[in-house]
């Protein structure tokens, strides 16, 4: 057996740093155009694609992409966990020759590490917060939709308590809950929003338990940002109402259903992939707009026309450019956070990290 010498160690340490040096020298290749038959795109989902909500929606977008680019090799991976396993998966996909990775959730550093390592691959993550040369993000300005939902809730609620089933305390949840609270308090300042974190995006079992806990507390309207819509069954059982988040086929006949955000990612996906193929892709964030890329108008049959009319008026107002997020806005410790005459911009709303007055549990 060969005896290890000092030069082996030095050589070993040297070769350890060599690849990172070599990477620093690589030029980003994401600007090089692709032929459809050479292209390979991967979609990674945080939950299953059959969840009837967020996952299904992205899967439909992906199917539209494969119709539009029939020669492109498109793969989709479900249930990608928020762990080092995600990093391993992204690295594996890159090794397989994927040129663009699209995730339907925020994988933060798990993705960022890989994007640094593979400069020739384009990365787009939903609800991301890091932008580098080859890593961008996309999202929808859901705070306007949730503001309208809050407004409608205030017209319907009898207990003045709204329940929100959340996944994790992250900015998109803050903006959703805050928008609901501000929208509801516009009509009735006594309304409170109770939040429960379930610790996952897709776990129907805990969603149902959380919904039950919120009902026990007296909430008579449930809202959520979860991937699935299992809490609708709880709402039906308990004779209360619920808003859904991202369902292509909302159960409008359900007596508990009020409304849902309906989002279509296919145009955005096709655009992004087309840019990647043309070699013009850049990591500029994309924010999908209410009224253009997503909408909220599939009413439940149990909702009266007066409420629909009022909601439509507010909706049209927002489309005309009305921004309801104007100061003064207090946080839930009664400190003034947004002074009067100040309007929160989309990027402030996207990065919202404090709860407004009237929110508990966040």
């Amino acid at each position: 057996m060969e005896i290890l010498k000092r030069r082996h160690f030095i050589g070993g340490i040297g070769s350890f740093f060599l690849p990172s040096y070599a990477q620093a020298e690589t030029t980003p290749l994401s600007s090089i155009s692709l032929l459809p038959q050479d292209g390979s795109i991967a979609f990674c989902y945080s939950g299953p694609k059959t969840d009837g909500g967020w996952g299904t929606l992205h899967e439909r977008g992906r199917l539209e992409v494969s119709k539009y680019f029939p020669k492109l090799r498109i793969t989709s991976i479900e249930n990608v966990p928020y762990s080092i396993q995600a990093t391993r998966l992204f690295r594996y996909l890159i090794a397989e020759g994927v040129q663009m990775i699209i995730t339907n959730s925020n994988y933060d550093n798990f993705l960022h590490d890989v994007s640094n390592y593979a400069q020739n691959v384009s990365f787009t993550e939903c609800n991301g917060h890091i932008t580098t040369a080859n890593l961008g993000w996309f999202y929808l300005d859901h705070w306007y939709a949730f503001y309208i939902f809050g407004y409608i809730s205030a017209l319907i609620t009898k207990t003045n308590k709204l329940g929100f089933i959340s996944s994790f305390p992250i900015p998109s949840v803050y903006s959703a809950v805050n928008a609901i609270t501000l929208g509801a308090r516009k009509i009735n300042p006594l309304i409170n929003v109770q939040v429960i974190h379930t610790g996952s995006w897709f776990n129907p079992k805990v969603t149902i338990q959380a919904a039950n806990a919120l009902c026990d507390q007296g909430c008579d309207i449930l809202l959520s940002i979860m991937n699935d819509m299992s809490y609708l069954r709880v709402a039906e059982q308990r004779n209360i109402k619920a808003f859904l988040y991202n369902n292509m086929t909302p159960p409008i006949r359900s007596k508990a259903y009020i409304n849902s955000i309906l989002c279509d990612f296919s145009n955005m996906y096709i655009q992004q992939i087309q840019q990647r193929m043309n070699g013009t892709w850049n990591s500029k964030p994309v924010l999908l707009k209410l009224g253009q890329d997503y909408n909220i108008f599939r009413w439940g049959t149990s909702i009266s026309s007066t409420i629909r009319y009022q909601a439509t008026a507010l909706y049209e107002n927002i489309l005309r450019g009305y921004n309801p997020f104007q100061g003064p806005i207090y946080n839930n410790k009664r400190q003034l956070k947004v002074t009067s005459n100040t309007t929160m911009k989309n990027i402030d709303l996207y990065q919202w990290n404090w709860a407004v007055e009237g929110v508990t549990g966040l």
């Binding site: 939950g47 299953p48 059959t50 969840d51 009837g52 909500g53 996952g55 299904t56 249930n79 109770q194 939040v195 429960i196 974190h197 379930t198 610790g199 897709f202 776990n203 129907p204 079992k205 805990v206 149902i208 338990q209 959380a210 039950n212 806990a213 919120l214 009902c215 026990d216 507390q217 991937n227 699935d228 819509m229 299992s230 609708l232 069954r233 508990t360 549990g361």
Partner: protein, 311 residues
């Protein structure tokens, strides 16, 4: 309806799955067969129930099909563990892995789809009109009455009041002696381990039709193991098993109530209360039962295959 009442109502519903699975395990263990496959069987039961209810739109047909799947699994398990006399622990573990794997595989296209039908509450006349107890105990669905009242009572009568029950317990304690007096050891073990498997599978179906309404990978999340632990921790007493099952249902529900009441405990810890209490539960009864160990012990021939030629 106040919060405590609702909490108890849902504790009973949530605990039902664990209680039913632990009753199944108890039956199997009383006849001397250790079935560690409950986790896998519950997964299989859950996935069968969701597929059946989405196909036939009837919870009762779904439960019957779930029982059928349980019976098939039970026969396979019993052939391996009792007829071929393979190691019961390994057979059980194999069933767990196989069950979870098959369930995740078959259930993939059904993940997140809500069951079209579920078990409706069936209030018992007169009893359900008692103020609080009436709502908590007597306004539940029929499976809850079966799990908490009818099945345990039947088992109690059969096991402790009949000659047949004595025979079964004898098979679990000393199969050689039972065989000597003419008790059909293999037949009894076969039947009761199958029955245990059916109840275990039914527990998974119950979860889908009464409490969760939708399938997702990892739905059972250790409840099968908790059910096996409950039998041992409940010291082979049905009453303790049922009470502990309700307690676990309560713990599952209280985690979210804690968030609603803004307890200064992080949600991550509140969500893992079930597992924390499972560990606490595993330790404490050992202290309590120290002086009484003989009375509380497991069936003597548990996990021991019966060879007639060795008698």
């Amino acid at each position: 309806m106040d919060i405590a009442t609702n909490l108890l109502y849902f504790s009973i519903i949530n605990g039902g799955g664990i209680v039913l699975a632990s009753i199944g395990e108890w039956l199997s263990e009383r006849s001397g067969v250790l079935n560690l496959g409950i986790e896998g069987l519950m997964s299989l039961g859950a996935v069968t129930a969701i597929i059946a209810v989405l196909s036939f739109h009837n919870p009762w047909i779904a439960l019957i099909i779930t029982c059928g799947v349980g019976a098939i699994c039970g026969i396979i398990f019993a052939i391996c563990a009792i007829i071929i006399k393979a190691n019961q622990v390994l057979c059980g573990l194999a069933f767990t892995m196989l069950g979870i794997g098959i369930a995740e595989f078959i259930g993939k296209p059904y993940e997140g789809i809500i069951a079209t039908e579920h078990l409706q509450p069936m209030p018992i006349p007169f009893l359900s009109s008692i103020s609080t107890i009436g709502y908590i105990v007597f306004s539940q669905n029929i499976m809850v009455y079966l799990i908490y009242i009818i099945i345990p009572l039947t088992i109690y009568v059969v096991f402790f009041k009949t000659q047949h029950g004595l025979n079964v317990r004898a098979v679990g304690e000393n199969p050689e002696a039972a065989d000597a007096v003419g008790v059909p050891v293999t037949r009894i073990r076969f039947f009761y381990s199958c029955l245990g498997t059916i109840l275990g599978t039914l527990a998974g179906g119950y979860l889908i039709l009464a409490s969760v309404f939708t399938w997702s990978g990892g739905l059972i999340a250790g409840q099968g193991w908790i059910a096996i632990a409950l039998v041992m921790l409940g010291r082979y007493r049905l009453v303790y098993m049922i009470l502990s099952g309700v307690f676990f249902g309560f713990i599952t529900a209280i985690g979210f109530e804690g968030q609603v009441f803004n307890w200064p405990i992080p949600p991550v810890i509140l969500n893992s209360l079930l597992y924390i209490f499972a560990i606490i539960f595993a330790i404490f009864p050992s202290f309590l039962a120290k002086n009484n160990s003989k009375k509380w012990r497991a069936p003597a021939a548990l996990c021991t295959p019966f060879f007639r030629s060795n008698r």
